[in-house]
């Protein structure tokens, strides 16, 4: 486990999300123990590790979907459980499951997802175009491919105002060109003062390696 380097000298940076002494146990196996994480504005954090090393568990704990066995998650120095509403306004979580309903069209799905998070739904078509879904706006999601499903879910990234992005395997089933433009979006987001926490088994090609902080989870295999 490599702790994150302390934030660099820039005065603009503030700690957005902090995990203190996180311990996670799944099925009697210790996945990580006493993990400390600090995520600042402008960070792109890649969580690495073999399958089953607890990447998804860590991301779910940070998002507040799972409870850690021990430890705390703080959003700007306040426990996330004590500022749920504010934290969720500032959070975008995209998990293994894209949260797309097969019975609704691509546009309806995106509009609902945006509206649920209090975002404007006027530019859904533009957002879908960004995800290369132009021409599929009115198709029922059940008629689209797995990759297109995930693109519908990810289209939210182009409208989101939430600074904290937690993305679990965002590149799954996305083609090369799509990955490149997503990476571009991540850089843009980090430059706007946001942060991206993601897991992926792919190398981040478009993002310069000195910009990516890495957290390696391999406790379970030591």
């Amino acid at each position: 486990m490599t702790p994150l380097p302390k934030s660099t000298s820039s005065t603009q940076e503030t700690i957005l999300l902090k995990g203190e002494n996180l311990t996670c146990i799944r099925e009697d196996r210790l996945l990580f123990d006493d993990l400390n994480i600090e995520i600042n504005t402008g960070d792109i954090v890649q969580v690495e590790g073999p399958n089953g090393s607890g990447k998804t568990s860590l991301l779910r704990i940070l998002a507040g979907l799972s409870q850690p066995y021990e430890g705390k998650v703080k959003f700007k120095q306040i426990l996330t459980s004590q500022c749920r509403e504010e934290f969720h306004e500032n959070l975008l979580y995209f998990g293994h499951l894209p949260g797309v309903k097969g019975e609704m069209s691509a546009e309806e799905n995106l509009s609902f997802n945006l509206a649920l998070h209090g975002l404007d739904t006027n530019q859904t078509v533009d957002n879908l175009a960004n995800m290369n879904l132009l021409g599929f706006e009115d198709s029922l999601a059940s008629h689209l491919s797995a990759g297109q499903h995930r693109r519908i879910g990810l289209a939210r990234l182009y409208q989101s105002r939430a600074p904290i992005w937690i993305l679990d395997e965002p590149f799954t089933a996305i083609d090369k060109q799509g990955v490149a433009s997503l990476e571009q979006r991540f850089i843009e987001h980090a430059n706007q003062g946001g942060c991206v926490i993601l897991t992926t088994h792919q190398d981040l090609l478009a993002i310069p390696s000195d910009k990516v902080k890495k957290i390696t989870l391999d406790y379970a295999f030591e």
Partner: protein
């Protein structure tokens, strides 16, 4: 799709000041509680209307279960009118139970539930919208079709009012209490039987007072006492069940 792989320093700088993310204020969350409620309600009803077997199947089940009784017991009007309230209500319980699974299961399966739990709105509000949608889709049609089946069972003429009122007050209780059971079992792969074991005992008070009200009405006595108790069950579950469901969903998605 743009492939501007080189984002120059100047364009980065240009992006930062004009389009910074607002992190502390809440002005971008412009959705009121009422809007959030109707957003989820509308979505669930849209999905149900596009997936019509969800509406039709429990209704057909209700009709078939009720029609089985005259076939099994015999067509004698006196016997049937005696047991009609019980038959209709038990069939309504089972039809509701059959439809409960859809309440959270598909949302759990495709990740929408996670997104709802992570939205800035209170969970109980979104849950309540889903339960209301469930009742509109499954409970309300039962109320429309029940009088027709009551004719089939020779229900006493004086009891029709009581039947409608008990169903109007009682079926929302079934949806509300059922939602707690579904929320607890949604993470379990084959939770169907467990769900009925959890939920059916909770339905007993509604069944007792509803059939008692209909029986009392059939002999011409006032049944407002029983209705009042069902109303109390309704308001009790309306105020408490959404919170219990929210907590149960958090446990189930953990």
């Amino acid at each position: 799709m743009t492939t501007n792989t080189e984002l120059t320093e100047s364009s980065k700088a240009a992006l930062a000041p004009t389009d910074t993310l607002n992190m502390t204020d809440t002005q971008h969350n412009n959705l009121s509680y009422r809007d959030a409620f109707f957003l989820v309600l509308k979505r669930d009803i849209t999905i149900a209307l596009r997936h019509r077997d969800d509406i039709i199947n429990p209704l057909l089940f209700f009709v078939i279960v009720v029609t089985l009784f005259p076939l099994g017991i015999g067509p004698e009007a006196k016997t049937l009118s005696r047991i009609a309230p019980g038959i209709i209500w038990v069939a309504a319980l089972l039809a509701t139970l059959l439809s409960l699974d859809r309440l959270f299961k598909s949302d759990y399966g495709d990740g929408s539930l996670e997104q709802m739990l992570l939205s800035p709105h209170p969970v109980f509000l979104l849950v309540l919208a889903k339960i209301v949608a469930h009742w509109l889709i499954t409970g309300l049609p039962l109320i429309f079709i029940a009088p027709l089946l009551a004719v089939l069972l020779h229900l006493n003429e004086q009891s029709y009012g009581a039947l409608i009122f008990t169903l109007l007050l009682g079926t929302p209780v079934l949806s509300l209490l059922g939602a707690v059971g579904v929320a607890l079992t949604v993470g379990i792969k084959k939770g169907g039987v467990l769900l009925s074991l959890l939920v059916l005992p909770l339905y007993i008070p509604v069944l007792i007072f509803a059939t008692s009200a209909i029986d009392t009405a059939s002999i011409g006595l006032p049944y407002s006492g029983q209705l009042a108790i069902i109303a109390a069950l309704f308001f009790g579950s309306l105020t408490l069940a959404p919170f219990a469901v929210g907590a149960a969903l958090k446990v189930s998605t953990n």
